[in-house]
Structure formats: structure tokens, C-alpha cells
Symmetry: C2
Subunit: 318 residues, 2 copies
């Protein structure tokens, strides 16, 4: 008999889910269209059925629990609250509804926290008690582990490092304020930086041939690989700002490692090399040399399901 949990990652467009054993092996995987179920109860019905259908005909798999990563998820309350990219409005008691439907333990948190748990249980942080993972996508998400536990804080919403203000009065942020880390250190931040540099400099650049709405982090990385100077400078500045966010997080919790994950982290050395240099150069001296900046140990394609599954395994182990 093999015990498995379901890992579920809810995104605005799709929900991916899979069965994962204790060793982090994905036994089966599937997805459904989140956007097709604007009524939460319909979504819960379909998700519950779909997860059950993943269990192979053989009787030797037992589903023990369900872990869910979702935007604006509150771990304590089991809710999704005011998520701008989801059709379900207000405060949705998702964990409770799925528990009622499946009669299984259900745990929910945001995707960056799930990524941290995945890293701790199945990834490169297996032996670490203190680390931070930064997910660099459209925004900057973060999961923080201290003393071997995910930090949820008093409200359940702790770990919003993307909304550390690093430039007072700086770039407009989606949170309504200015100068938040994610407006600089994220895929969209990189694009904003490149646009700014195109405006300031008269240097030739292949990026001048693209409409701003078509400019992506991937295209800037490609240009940088072709030695486009503006693209290289944009990466360097992004790395400096990201390093700045990292050194200010280090004085808080003194982690053993900071993991970078997500679209922008795929740029590899183009990002990691300058980030490590700026962290080393600008860190408070007593922490110099104590923190590693590392890529995630979990393949991007499996991370969402494994992270959510890790959340369930972690909960079951208590």
C-alpha cells in the first residue's frame, strides 16, 4: 500500500494537480481550467472528482490529504481572500469546502509558501532550518522558513518581501504604493528597467525593435546573451535591486540560503552572478559569507504540484 497526497496549484487560468508519494515522486498528474468554473462550488466538485480519478485502478494507493497553493490564500483560515486574478470574489472558504467534499485533511497557502515547503521537503533545502525562497515571476513572491517552520505571522499573510519598499517614492506598485521590491526585481520589473534604459540612453539595442507590450524578460535575456548592452545593463540593475532586497531580508532572519525560483531565475548566471556579487559587496559585514544564493533544487515544471504536496505531507507529519 502506497500513501499519497494530492498537490493542487490554483492559478487564474489553470489548476494543475497531481498525486505525490512521500519521496516526492509524482504518480499521476492532470489539470483543469480554473476560469471555466466561476462558481466556487462547481470548481470544488470538479476538482474533487478529478483528483479521485487520478488514483489508479489498483487498490494499493491511499490518498491521505490535499495540499493547495493558491493566490491570496490564508493558511490559518483556509480561505482565499480578495484574489484579483480569480473569478471567486470576496473571501472564499476553499479548504473547508474541499474537506467537506473529500473528507480529507486540506491545507492551503500561497504559491510562494508552497514553493518553500517543496524546497524543504523535496528540494535543495532538505537539511536547512533557516532559508528564504524568492519566486521571480510577474511579481516577487517569498516563502520564509525559520527554525524549520514556514512563517505565517499573526495574520497568515507573512512573507510579502515583494512589498518591501526599497525606493521611497519609486515605481508605482500594484499594491497602491511606490518603490516596492517587486517593481524592480521581477520579470516585469526587468522589463520596466529595460524601457527606462532605452529612454535614457541613445545606444543601439535590438530591444528598440519591439513594442513595449511585447517586451518580456525572456527576450531581454536573449538580447543579453547576444551581448546587447542595454539588456546586460538592465539585468545588472535588476540584480543589484534584488540583492538589495536580499541583504535587507538577511538582517532579519539570517538564513543559511536564499533560493531564487521562477521565470526570471531561469536566466541563470546572467542573474545569479551579479546578485551574488552585490550581496557579498553590500551585506552587513557580520553576515558576509554566511549566506548562499542558490537556484531552486526542484524543476520548474514540477514545482507547483510538489510544493502543494509538500504542504500536505508536512501537515500530516504532526
Amino acid at each position: 500500500m502506497t500513501e499519497v497526497v494530492a498537490g493542487v496549484d490554483i492559478g487564474g487560468t489553470n489548476t494543475v494537480f497531481g498525486l505525490v508519494d512521500r519521496n516526492g515522486e509524482i504518480i499521476a498528474e492532470s489539470k483543469l481550467s480554473t476560469a471555466s468554473y466561476p462558481e466556487i462550488d462547481d470548481f470544488v466538485d470538479v476538482l474533487g472528482e478529478s483528483v479521485k480519478r487520478l488514483i489508479p485502478g489498483k487498490k494499493d494507493f491511499v490518498l491521505k490529504g490535499i495540499g493547495i497553493g493558491a493566490p491570496n490564500a490564508n493558511y490559518y483560515k483556509g480561505t482565499i481572500e480578495l484574489a484579483p486574478n480569480l473569478a471567486w470574489k470576496g473571501i472564499v472558504p476553499l479548504a473547508g469546502k474541499i474537506k467537506d467534499k473529500t473528507d480529507l485533511p486540506v491545507v492551503i497557502t500561497n504559491d510562494a509558501n508552497a514553493a518553500a515547503m517543496g524546497e524543504m521537503i523535496f528540494g535543495a533545502a532538505k537539511n536547512m532550518k533557516n532559508f528564504i525562497i524568492l519566486t521571480l515571476g510577474t511579481g516577487l513572491g517569498s516563502g520564509i522558513v525559520i527554525n524549520g517552520e514556514l512563517v505565517y505571522g499573526h495574520t497568515g499573510f507573512a512573507g510579502e518581501l515583494g512589498h518591501t519598499i526599497i525606493v521611497p517614492g519609486g515605481r508605482d506598485c500594484g499594491c497602491g504604493r511606490q518603490g516596492c521590491l517587486e517593481t524592480y526585481a521581477s520579470a516585469s520589473g526587468l522589463v520596466r528597467t529595460a524601457l527606462y534604459m532605452l529612454s535614457e540612453s541613445k545606444e543601439e539595442s535590438s530591444l528598440r525593435e519591439m513594442a513595449p507590450s511585447e517586451l518580456t524578460a525572456k527576450k531581454i535575456a536573449e538580447a543579453a546573451a547576444d551581448n546587447d548592452h542595454i539588456a546586460l545593463e538592465a539585468f545588472d540593475y535588476t540584480a543589484e535591486m534584488l540583492a538589495f532586497g536580499i541583504i535587507n531580508a538577511i538582517v532579519f532572519s539570517s538564513p543559511e540560503a536564499v533560493f531564487l525560483f521562477g521565470g526570471l531565475a531561469q536566466a541563470g548566471d546572467l542573474l545569479f552572478t551579479p546578485v551574488r556579487t552585490y550581496v557579498y559587496r553590500n551585506i552587513q559585514p557580520i553576515f558576509r559569507g554566511t549566506v548562499k544564493v542558490l537556484p531552486s533544487g526542484i524543476p520548474e515544471s514540477n514545482a507547483a504540484v510538489l510544493g502543494a504536496a509538500a504542504l500536505a505531507w508536512n501537515e500530516l507529519s504532526y
Copy 2:
């Protein structure tokens, strides 16, 4: 029979120590001159003897352990490391030496962490699992509690919020960098702000009658109480910068409360009112209204001994 612990606070000039029972009552208290013992072994001998002498003649007090707050103390290693204000150079294994001398459990951390523990065990954070205390003296120290535990991090030096960089390229800091929070939000930061404002403005101010070396936070507070406009503006700017440090800490750990302690916090409403206003105004919206900014619940005069004693009680409870 009454069980007690010794709480010891080591400062550059004096070391104060006392016997404290489980309820936080100080049974006896004394002090000795730290600076008089440049040899660590002499200090350990004298401290050990002095603590024993505090135990009243009656046989009904039993000393169970010793908690120590000291600058640059490492909780994990039991050491004081490279403390600029102490005569003992290099890395001093203080906890081990005192343990050898007294045959009692000894625990050591820095004074801000001890203050956090004092607040949690004896003060205004008794029922809190997630809070931060900021000690506003010459510098800005911090103690962070998450999930009911003090945060020491991978190195033992976590919780250096005074060295969050909030103004890139800003004021010179003792750590060798620029723009750290403590260069703005501390007693000495307030003095620097007042001097800057005296330089920028031509407004009349009683502060113009004092030599910069004589200007203190207390004198600025007195001038502010007399409606001196420069002094009031200096407090307002200090509060804004402190609030800025606080809102960036809140996105990290989402605490229930942030306590302000130490010399500058004695200014009371002059500091707390604008800090609360700026925190409320500038915080990330999902945290708005979730965090209290409070004065410490422990009288300044007892805090050092109670904090160190709380550290020992906390350790003994495991």
C-alpha cells in the same frame, strides 16, 4: 523553597545583575564595573561570587540558572564576538566559562533579544506568538519572536533590523555602510536629523545654543515640548523613518505588535503618535490595522535584568 535565576546585563561600563523568580519579581539586585576587569577570567570569578552573594542567608532560595544579555553575544556558541565596547577582544566563550565556574545552565544573547524575551515572559507580549521589539538607544537593536520563539537564524545573529538599509547612499553607519535604519531611527539618529535641519533652515531654535556634541535626544524632546519647531520637525522625520523600518519588517513576519523601548521611546506621544500615523498610512494594505505599535510593558530600570532572567527561565522550561 523558591526557585530563582540570575539575570545579568553586561554593558561596556557596568554589569547589572539580579535574582528573579518565576513571576518576574526581582529578589535582589546589584552591579559591578565591567571596565575594571579587562581580563575575562577575573570578570567571571567576580561575577560568579557576586551572584552567589545575592542569595539571602535563608536556605529557601535555589539558583537554577543564569541568563546573560551582552553586546555581540552568540546564542548558539555562548560567545561574545568582537564587541567594540568591551575590553575583551576577539571571541570570548563567556557562557562556558561561567558554566564551569558555577555548574549552572548559562544562556547568552544580545540585549535586544533579551528584551524581547523579557516582554514575552514578564511584559506586554505575554499572550503573543509573533511580535518585534525595537530598542531605540544610541543604535537600534531588535528582538524578533515568531511562532513563540526568538529568531536567532543560521548564524545566531538574526534580528539586526537597525542595519536594514532604508536610504541607499544615505548617512554613514558604524557598520561601514550607508543609510542603515539606525542612522535615522535612534537617539543618535534624532540628533543627526536635528543638526541637519538646523543647517537647512534659518528658523529660530533653542537647539542653536548647544554645541553639537552636547545635543541629546532628551534635550530635543524638551525643546519639542516647548514647541520648538525644529525639534518637532526632527521628531516627525525620525518617526517617519522609524515607521518605514517598521512597515518593511511587517511584510516579513506579520507581527501582532511592534514594541518600542529604550531612551528614545521615553519621548512617549511625541514619538508614538507620528509613528502610528506613518505606519498606518504607508503600510501594505493587507496588513493595515493588523499591527499595534506599543510601549514596552517593562519599566526601563528593570528591563535589562528581567530580560536576561527571562532568557534563563525560557531555557529551563524545555
